[in-house]
């Protein structure tokens, strides 16, 4: 049971929810950029939500199903077709042996996710199936997928109940946008911003530049200034940390960020809104809205409760 890559995409890697416990060794957590998309399609298929998925950029690969499979797509919309039949995101589909999955156009977003019922057979490194491109390890041979690569499935037989088309509806699906206002909590050096820069930060929008990848998104806008220059010794940074570079421009650290950094930490994107950032690409714009830590935690908890509720509902449907 497997799929095979017939045509290579630009950057398709195996990811899960990341590798935790090794930041102190300089090993970053990595994982899917849009974690909620990866989790939702896994939950929809009845998988463990941390099951490995394929993260694709556009142009995305062409995939041949070598055996019957049930799969789902989420995140970006790349105009997916199964044997020329249009597919929707957040819905499970049955693919017969020898069917072909193609992506025909970049309709929205920058990272699409693909998961199969039961999950892919991937050897874990340090507890995770995520690809670490810097260290060239983890995921599929530590690299992006190439033509003729074959990914096996863990589950060998498909249950009849799994063949129905299930669809996720409701508030759990992120409302993606090419110009989102994302919620952030203030960072350690936020107070060091000049009053006018502080206002710029939450009133202006910033453009995502070409210089953006899985490590971080470089922003461009009115430069921000600090009251006094502060040299920082390196300390930990995180997925979503917004750093201020010496030229007054900001960078948002993304999934493959380094574990530590020394630039002033202006703010951190809230966990709940990271998926909105993850779907942005060059020339998209972003604005920031500062909220309290309590609000950020509560929003996160509310989403986790809803996700658990969905998980429970789907488990009942699949195993009744």
């Amino acid at each position: 049971m497997s799929i095979i890559v017939q045509k290579e995409g630009i950057l398709s890697t195996v990811q899960d929810l990341g590798r935790s416990g090794f930041r102190s060794s300089g090993i970053n957590p990595g994982g899917a950029m849009d974690k909620i998309a990866a989790r939702l399609i896994n939950v929809l298929l009845g998988n463990n939500e941390s099951e490995a998925v394929l993260e694709m950029h556009f142009p995305a690969p062409e995939i041949l199903f070598e055996k019957d499979a049930v799969f789902a797509l989420g995140g970006a919309d790349f105009g997916a077709k199964l044997n020329n039949k249009n597919l929707e995101n957040w819905k499970s589909y049955f693919a017969e042996k020898r069917s072909v999955l193609k992506f025909t156009g970049k309709n929205f977003g920058n990272r699409a996710y693909f998961s199969v019922t039961g999950g892919f057979e991937i050897e874990k490194w340090l507890g995770s199936a995520s690809t670490n491109l810097t260290a060239e390890i983890g995921g599929f041979r530590g690299r992006h997928l190439q033509k003729r690569d074959r990914l096996g499935f863990k589950q060998k037989i498909i249950d009849i109940k799994q063949k129905f088309n299930y669809k996720i509806a409701g508030s759990l699906i992120p409302i993606y946008n090419r110009f989102p206002t994302v919620r952030v909590v203030a960072g350690a050096e936020f107070e060091l911003l000049e009053a006018s820069s502080e206002q710029f930060f939450s009133r202006q929008s910033f453009t995502i530049t070409q210089n953006s990848n899985r490590m971080g998104f470089r922003l461009e806008g009115a430069p921000l200034e600090l009251l006094r220059n502060k040299e920082l010794v390196s300390s930990a940074v995180s997925f979503g940390t917004i750093q201020l570079l010496p030229d007054g421009q900001m960078i948002i650290l993304m999934a493959d960020h380094q574990t530590s950094g020394g630039y002033p930490r202006i703010a951190n994107v809230c966990e709940i809104d990271l998926p909105l950032v993850a779907q942005l690409g060059a020339n998209d714009k972003i604005a920031f809205h500062i909220i309290s830590l309590e609000e950020a935690e509560n929003l996160f908890l509310q989403r986790e409760f809803e996700l658990n509720f969905l998980k429970f509902g789907i488990q009942i449907k699949l195993h009744r």
Partner: protein, 226 residues
Amino acid sequence: MSHKIFSLGDNALTIEFGNEISVELNDRVLRLVEVFDKRSFTGFVEFVPAYSSLTIFYDVFTVRKNFPEFSTAFAAVKNSVENALESLEAPQKLDSKAVEIPVCFDRESALDLDSLAVENNLARQEVIEIFLSQTYRVFMLGFLPGFAYLGEVDERIAARRKNSPRLKVPRGSVAIAGKQAGIYPLASPGGWQIIGRTDIELFTPNEAEPTFLQVGDRVKFHSQNL
């Protein structure tokens, strides 16, 4: 001694003891790691020790469930940290490992040794001697898997970062930036001044402990002739 505790996003907090490279502050960081190693809290995910700070990642869902008396997970973890800080023992010698690392200083490996010597008005051999004369401490790991930040390098051989970073620093390169030294475990872009190379495997991904060096280790370099 004073400290600051601030959030790093909505699932981590940092305890900052200061903003400098000093053995005393770093010792404090490591002692706090020891306290939590022995007695962690429910919902703890991982630590990131740095020069003068410790960052703790936690699972908001679990912390909130287990500490309902706090209005945020941040407040609960902060409380736990403050209790740990109170019980922090008086300075005592940390249990650290001594490590020997052979370095080759030939011209092929020591890409910036000559220019660094000129910049510091020293002979090439003097730079090597000063560099080898000292024992370095691993203050933290970061940047790349297994990349150790070592200090402190003698003022006389301290070096500015390169104006434009190299696109590919060879694996095993031993390098200096400011009063820090480091070893590149993997080939990578980098702006530090390269003074030699080692064959030691600093990153062994298939072992349970994937890095050769750990925070707190004492490193002594010696010259290796090829």
